[in-house]
């Protein structure tokens, strides 16, 4: 059944291995991460070596090979956000959710917190991106509220 989902994505991209990045993005959208079985199947479908798929999948930070939670939260740790207190936000979030400060999944797999380095909205810093939605001028309190929604 999972393979069928991959097949559909490959069809959508006309089996074009040059579109590997786009395909991987779509696969990640379906599974929330890139499962090994899906990538193995994908390599067969596109008729390219698994090593090539693995290379691209590990090259970009946007891809994850490990399972991720239902909600994906990015904490910007870029220079601008950092000097405006992103580190404190990260510390508080990590403590509150009992995850490592570098980021990770919560036990209940509700959330995955990841650090990113500058998302291009420095003037709004510190920036938190919750499920793709940008939140600017964040404080630890405001951030924790996001998680309780």
């Amino acid at each position: 059944m999972d393979n069928a989902k991959v097949d559909k994505i490959v069809e959508k991209h006309k089996k074009d291995s040059c579109q590997l990045i786009g395909i991987l993005q779509d696969v990640q959208k379906v599974f929330n991460y890139l499962p090994k079985s899906a990538l193995d199947h994908l390599a067969k479908k596109l008729d390219i070596p698994e090593s090539q798929v693995y290379n691209v999948a590990t090259f970009f930070k946007a891809f994850s090979l490990n399972p991720r939670g239902k909600h994906i939260v990015h904490v910007c740790m870029g220079t601008a956000c950092h000097v405006r207190g992103a580190k404190r936000i990260m510390e508080d979030v990590a403590r509150e959710l009992s995850i490592p400060e570098a980021g990770g999944n919560t036990k209940d797999m509700e959330h995955t917190v990841e650090q990113v380095n500058c998302v291009g909205a420095c003037a709004l810093g510190p920036v938190i991106i919750y499920d793709g939605e940008y939140h600017g001028s964040m404080t630890p309190e405001k951030t924790l509220k996001l998680f309780k929604k």
Binding site: P49, E50, N55, F59
Partner: protein, 240 residues
């Protein structure tokens, strides 16, 4: 036939066929330029940068890697200069820092006048030349291994860092690696390449006994050139 052209190297006229890579021409003419990520059976990749030379261009000198530079008529090159020596030394220092224990790296560093590195030392051993990956892809045609991640985390690995399923155990990667980073062991009729997490059964000669090669490799060759089923039952010595 390709056109013959003339280039100038260190003031000496050198004749060569047009479109050859400079490093190959230099080697053929016994002009020494160090190289690490180059092998004549693999497309130039140009990552180690140690093969740099200077090319004259509009009255200036430009530093370029020679292994992936196709020559054209009238070009003028210099293989030694203060600048090149300095840049090669820095490259070597960096490589030495990454792979401070690799004999081949230490030797080349010494040859280029580098005894110590001022950067924090690690003992990786792989210099990321990519030759193993390219050889597996371009010479063997298997593509069992590849690169993983990027930046400081980049490394060569089997997909997902588990057993390289496509690997036929031919050992080309072991052979081509300039720093001897990839280890291979044949014992009890099994070939192991731990870096790719592979263990493959060896085929023995039906007549005299010893291992010939991994079964998977022989199978691969047999299919590729359409040899008869029993072709590899005996080793080369026992063939009629």
């Amino acid at each position: 036939m390709t056109k013959e052209i003339t280039i100038t190297v260190d003031g000496r006229k050198v004749k060569a066929a047009e479109g050859l890579y400079l490093l190959d021409v230099l080697k053929r003419n016994n002009i020494y330029v160090p190289s690490l990520c180059h092998h004549d059976q693999v497309h130039p990749y140009g990552v180690c940068r140690i093969c740099i030379v200077e090319m004259e261009l509009n009255g200036r000198r430009k530093v370029m890697s020679s292994c992936n530079l196709k020559i054209a008529d009238g070009q003028v090159f210099h293989t030694t200069s203060e600048k090149l020596t300095k840049e090669r030394k820095i490259l070597m220092e960096l490589m030495l820092a990454r792979s401070s224990g690799a004999k081949e790296v230490i030797e080349l560093a010494q040859r280029l006048g580098v005894e110590e590195t001022r950067f924090p030392k690690e003992d990786d051993g792989c210099i990321m030349c990519g030759l193993c990956v390219k050889a597996c892809e371009q010479v063997v045609g298997v593509s069992a291994i590849g690169f993983e991640s990027r930046g400081p985390n980049r490394k060569v690995s089997a997909p997902f860092d588990v057993e390289a399923e496509r690997c036929i155990g031919c050992g080309s990667c072991v052979f081509i690696c300039p720093t001897n980073f990839i280890k291979m062991e044949d014992k009890n009729h099994v070939r192991k390449i731990p870096l790719w997490h592979v263990e493959l059964k060896m085929k023995q000669c039906k007549s005299c006994g010893p291992d010939i090669a991994p079964e998977k490799q022989l199978e691969y060759i047999r299919n590729k050139v359409k040899l008869p089923e029993n072709f590899f039952d005996t080793c080369l010595n026992c063939r009629p």
